[in-house]
Each structure stands twice: as structure tokens, then as C-alpha cells.
Amino acid sequence: MAETKYTEEHEWIRVEGDVGTIGITQYAQEQLGDVVFVDVPAAGRTVAKGEACAVVESVKAASDIYAPASGEVVESNAALADTPGDVNAEPTGKGWFFKLKLADKGELDGLMDEAAYEAFVKSLG
């Protein structure tokens, strides 16, 4: 059963087995506006929790994406190069960024579940 967790930087990570799929939330894509470019890490790269490892850009803004957990990138969403608008249309579906083979699932314990994240977004006004 897949479980989705959220960070305060408005990323989501959906865990299936020891692999987590990572993207940005509906709230994040609304804040960014039209996404024009996504720079995703190459498969094989090892990232540490909190490391800036992807970039998402709109016309007027660029945001770093931080790894919500440590691990090795096993796949990145190559389709985003041609259709970055997927991030706007389906941020939690076709607009995923990359998949991470998690080094330590325990690192996810501090992240928010869906209800907590919704409350967090509400608190932002």
C-alpha cells in the first residue's frame, strides 16, 4: 500500500516498497504559475536528505527541490523536458520528478501526512 508524505517545502513523496516517488504539490504549482522547465537529477546520482537536487522554473521564478530523504536516484521523469506543463496539470500524477531508492525509510518519519499538510497549507493563509 503506497503512502504519501509531505514536506514544508511543498514536496510530496509516495513510498512503494523501498522506492519513493517525488514531486511538488498542487499548492506549490499554483504558487509557481506556468512551469516552463524542470531540471531533474540523473539516474544513479546519490543524494542526501535536504540536498538541492532538482530545479523547477516558471517564467519569473526558480525553486530548488530538496531531497526529502537520502538515497539513489533510480529514475527521473524524462517526459518533463518536452511537457513541463504536466507539473501544472497533474502535479501528483504525470508531473512527478524522480524516484529515489531510499537509504533509510526512518528519515520519512518527521514528514507530514495528508491531513497535517492540508492544515499546514491552510495556516499559510
Binding site: V36, F37, V59
Partner: protein, 537 residues
């Protein structure tokens, strides 16, 4: 090389009968607004805009590396070239056309005498590496400008070679790094403080030099929070980078205390001189305790912006930083001007210095020096003081005349620019961007928008001293009219459609960034001739 002469669009699929009907003309032109193709869509092999003689026959010495294929440049005759670029020019707004209130950019009048003297053969037609004995007047000119800059700022030295303001920033911060290294403190002092309202170049420059940038908050008066600054100062701090007057158009009233605190902490004070035009002749930055400041000659001293350069960014330096000024150094040796381009030359002239290196080939932006000096000499010491006063007066007049209908970001007098936030547009459905685009239809270039970042929906208006009162009155009237229209609450759609009367309506920046087309290619032109004719049929 390209046959189709498509005067309306050029891009496959972009022409529709609808857009022709919008114009209602066969050509797609609208009187003086003439649609202009790219040169690559107009050229014909066999045409040329120059006449050059047949080259004498010689033995080729190109190491067998002669270019094989064609380059692909279009051929046009001289009248076609003149018409093409003239038509393009007519799609631009410019200072020469009217009020250009772009805050933080200082769009002041660009006198034509500056252009004329820069083109004198004895100035404009000189090689930078001619024997120094044959360019004594050029070196005297550079030193003459340097003297003005040092005297107006109250600083002992100036590095002339940086090519633009950002380049000057790099120069100044390198000089600070060099001074720290000489004191053995470079490894320890890694932090640079910059206010949240700083120009983006400040953090970019500091980061390039390996410094860690730490933002300093502003207080509710739009100035640096002195207490927060003092708390941030410590043995790890290399410098503060501070714009004064700041990007909110306000003078940092506690600047003397700031510089004292910075120096007591063993750090240096980099002043971003982008807004020197507001205080020239009334305040010497040297009296405020700064260590270095770049001067954008295109802002304060009227060298033309030229559609985005070239600029020039000389940096004035305090006695503490002067030894580190980059090469070249122009030195007077008796009656003769010398150029020191290396350490040996400095030594031979008996000059002490530890130059940080070299930042640019040759001696700097001579053409800009010439223009700036012509402007400075035209104004003189008396006129430059009046420049600052009139610039500040115009900005405060705009502020006073609009403060009841727009929302000033801060209380009190401003310097050379008036800053508003977007609270007066609340609940109107009109954004800062929409409001600015509507100004275009009124015949004005918009003000600076969304900068500084510390003010919501910022609108930064800098009229400069070059605008007559009657023109300012019309400008104010136009903004009041737009404000009233926005506040009806029913005009949002009209604002979002603006501009209607410009050579182009709003452009799709998302498309441009998602599918970058950064050059013309033959495949951009659809085969099969003239889509406009097809549409007309």
C-alpha cells in the same frame, strides 16, 4: 537565399485571416506601424550593401582551413538595410520620445554633444595599444574624468576599467577580498551582509567570490534595521553591500552609524552607487564612511542605455582599498602620462600598489568615459547639484500628487524615486502588471514593477530631472485616470487586455521559455510562399 517575402508574420501557422481582419489592411500594416520580417526572410543572393574592390591575388596562407560551405548570411542592399532598421526602431519606446519613469534605471536625457565628441577621430579612432606617447590626450581625458569622480564622491582613488555596474561590483568585492587576504583574514571572513531589498547583482557577485550571503531585514521605515545589522556583525563578516539611496528610493538615514559599526567589526562597506544621481553634488559618499562604490555612468552621467548596454562601472575606493585597484593604472610621470599594465611597470614608476589583477582588456570603456565627461563638464559643479535637487523634487512631486489615490510604500520624503505598493488596487481585479501595461496605451513606458521585492506589487517611479513640469502633470493625470478606472471595480478585463495600441499586445513568455527559439532557421519559414496572400484570398 530565402524566397518568401512575408511582411506580416513569418512563422508557420501564426497567420490567420482573423488577424488580417483585425488590422483591416491588405499588408497587415497600420499606417506608421509597419510589420517587418527578419533579415533572413528578406535577403537575396546577388545583393550586397557594400562595394569592396577585388582582392589582389596572393598565395593563400590559411593552413588549409578555408571555410567550405556558405555562411548563410542574407544579402540586402543599403536602402533595404536602412529601411529595415528604421522600421524596427519605430517599434521602440525611448527617452527621446517622452517620460520613461523606470525606477532604479535613471532614464535621463542623453545629450547629443556627448555623441559628437566621442566620435572625434582623435578620441574615437585610437587603438588601445598605440605607443603611449601617441595617446597622451586620451590618458589625460581618462584622468580628467577620474578626478571628477573622486572629487564628487570624496574618495581618494578610482578604478576605471570595469565595463558595467555589475562588473564594478565584482571589482570592488575583489578589492575587499584582496584587502582581507593581505591582513590574513580572508579564510575567516566568509560572510557578506546585504539587505533584502538589494539589487540581485549584490548577492550574485558576493556568491561568485565564495562569500556566503546573509540577508539583513529592513525596518518599517524601509531602511536597514540597525539593531539587526549590529547583531549580524562579527569576526566572520567580510563586508556589507548596501545601496544608498536604497532601492526603495530612501536615504539610509543611519548610514554613518552603519559604517561605524561595520568598521568596528573589522569589515568593509561596499556601497552600490546605482542611485548616486539622487545625491550627486549634495552628498559625498566618502563622508559617509564607505570603502568602495561603483558608479553607473549610464545612470548618473547620462551615457546612453542603448537598449541594454554598453555601460561602464568605475569604482571609487577608500585609502584602505586603493592599493588593490586592478590594472591598468594611469600614472602621471612629470609631464607625461604612463600606463602601468604590470607590477614591473608600477615599480619602475615608483608607485606602491598590490593590484588585484586585471578585469578587462585594455583601459576600460573609453567611449563611455568621453560621454560622461562631456555631460559632467556641461553641468559643472553647480549644475550637478541642481541635477540631484531636480530629480528629488520631481519624484516628491509625483509622490505628493498621487498619494491620495495610490498607496505610497513608506512615509516621508523620498529621494529620486517614488515607491508605491499595490494596496490601492485591492479588490479591483487589476494587478501591478495590468496597471503598468495600461500605461503603455496612454503613451508611457511603465514604471519598474515588482522591485524591490520587499514591497508587495511594487511600482517604482523615477521621473529623473529631465522631465518638464507640464509633462509630469500630464503623466500624473494619466495615472490618476487609470487609478480611477481601476477602482470602478468593473474594468479588470480592460486592464488585462492592455496594451491594445502598441506594436505588439502581451507576449506569451511561457511559450518562449517552454520551447526556446533563440535563432532563425530556414525551417521557420513555411514552404509554399506567402501565407498572407492565401489568407487574403
Amino acid at each position: 537565399m530565402v524566397q518568401s517575402l512575408d511582411r506580416s508574420q513569418g512563422r508557420a501557422g501564426s497567420v490567420s485571416a482573423g488577424s488580417v481582419n483585425t488590422h483591416g489592411t491588405y499588408t497587415g500594416n497600420r499606417a506608421l506601424q509597419i510589420e517587418e520580417p527578419l533579415i533572413f526572410e528578406m535577403g537575396q543572393a546577388g545583393r550586397c550593401g557594400v562595394d569592396l574592390p577585388e582582392p589582389p591575388k596572393v598565395k593563400e596562407r590559411l593552413n588549409g582551413l578555408r571555410r567550405k560551405g556558405e555562411i548563410g548570411l542574407p544579402g540586402l542592399s543599403e536602402p533595404q538595410v536602412v529601411q529595415h532598421f528604421t522600421r524596427l526602431s519605430q517599434k521602440n519606446y525611448a527617452i527621446d520620445m517622452g517620460v520613461y519613469p523606470l525606477g532604479s534605471c535613471t532614464m535621463k536625457h542623453n545629450p547629443r554633444i556627448n555623441e559628437k565628441v566621442a566620435r572625434l577621430a582623435g578620441i574615437g579612432d585610437l587603438h588601445p595599444l598605440q605607443p603611449v606617447s601617441t595617446v597622451q590626450g586620451a590618458l589625460e581625458l581618462i584622468d580628467g574624468l577620474a578626478h571628477w569622480l573622486k572629487t564628487l564622491t570624496g574618495m581618494p582613488a578610482v578604478a576605471m576599467s570595469p565595463a558595467a555596474g555589475a562588473h564594478g561590483e565584482m571589482c570592488g568585492m575583489m578589492a575587499i577580498a584582496a584587502a582581507l587576504e593581505a591582513k590574513g583574514e580572508r579564510a575567516q571572513r566568509r560572510t557578506v551582509l546585504a539587505p533584502e531589498s538589494a539589487h540581485g547583482t549584490n548577492p550574485a557577485t558576493a556568491a561568485a567570490l565564495g562569500f556566503v550571503v546573509k540577508p539583513i531585514p529592513a525596518n518599517d521605515r524601509g531602511r536597514v534595521d540597525l539593531a539587526a545589522l549590529k547583531a549580524a556583525l562579527g569576526p566572520d563578516v567580510a563586508a556589507i553591500m548596501l545601496t544608498n539611496p536604497n532601492t526603495c528610493g530612501l536615504f539610509e538615514s543611519e548610514i554613518v552609524e552603519i559604517s561605524k559599526a561595520v568598521h568596528e567589526a573589522g569589515a568593509y562597506f561596499y556601497c552600490d552607487g546605482a542611485n548616486f544621481n539622487a545625491i550627486v553634488g549634495r552628498v559625498r559618499p566618502g563622508d559617509l564612511g564607505i570603502d568602495c562604490m561603483h558608479i553607473n555612468l549610464h545612470k548618473t552621467f547620462s551615457t546612453p542605455h542603448g537598449g541594454g548596454g554598453p555601460g561602464a562601472g568605475p569604482v571609487v575606493l577608500s585609502a584602505a582599498l586603493a592599493p588593490y585597484a586592478p590594472y591598468p593604472w594611469i600614472v602621471k610621470d612629470g609631464d607625461t602620462w604612463r600606463v602601468a599594465e604590470d607590477g614591473g611597470a608600477l615599480k619602475a614608476l615608483g608607485v606602491d600598489g598590490l593590484p588585484l589583477g586585471r578585469l578587462k582588456a585594455f583601459h576600460g570603456q573609453m567611449g563611455m568615459f568621453t560621454r560622461a565627461l562631456a555631460y559632467i563638464m556641461s553641468h559643472g559643479a553647480d549644475g550637478l547639484r541642481q541635477v540631484a535637487e531636480d530629480a528629488v523634487l520631481n519624484a516628491n512631486y509625483v509622490m505628493a500628487a498621487l498619494k491620495d489615490v495610490m498607496s505610497p510604500a513608506f512615509e516621508g520624503p523620498c529621494m529620486h524615486e517614488a515607491l508605491f505598493d499595490d494596496s490601492f488596487l485591492k479588490d479591483t481585479g487589476v494587478s501591478t502588471l495590468d496597471f503598468a501595461k495600461a500605461m503603455i496605451d496612454e503613451g508611457y513606458h511603465p514604471m519598474t514593477m515588482y522591485f524591490p521585492l520587499v514591497v508587495h506589487g511594487a511600482m517604482l517611479i523615477e521621473p529623473t530631472e529631465s522631465v518638464a513640469k507640464e509633462d509630469l502633470d500630464q503623466f500624473i493625470g494619466a495615472l490618476r485616470s487609470l487609478t480611477a478606472k481601476a477602482k470602478t471595480g468593473t474594468a479588470a478585463e480592460d486592464f488585462k487586455a492592455a496594451p491594445l495600441y502598441a506594436p505588439r499586445r502581451r507576449l506569451d513568455e511561457t511559450l518562449a521559455a517552454r520551447k526556446p527559439v533563440l535563432r532563425w532557421k530556414p525551417s521557420n519559414n513555411p514552404p509554399g510562399g506567402d501565407p498572407l496572400k492565401q489568407a487574403a484570398e
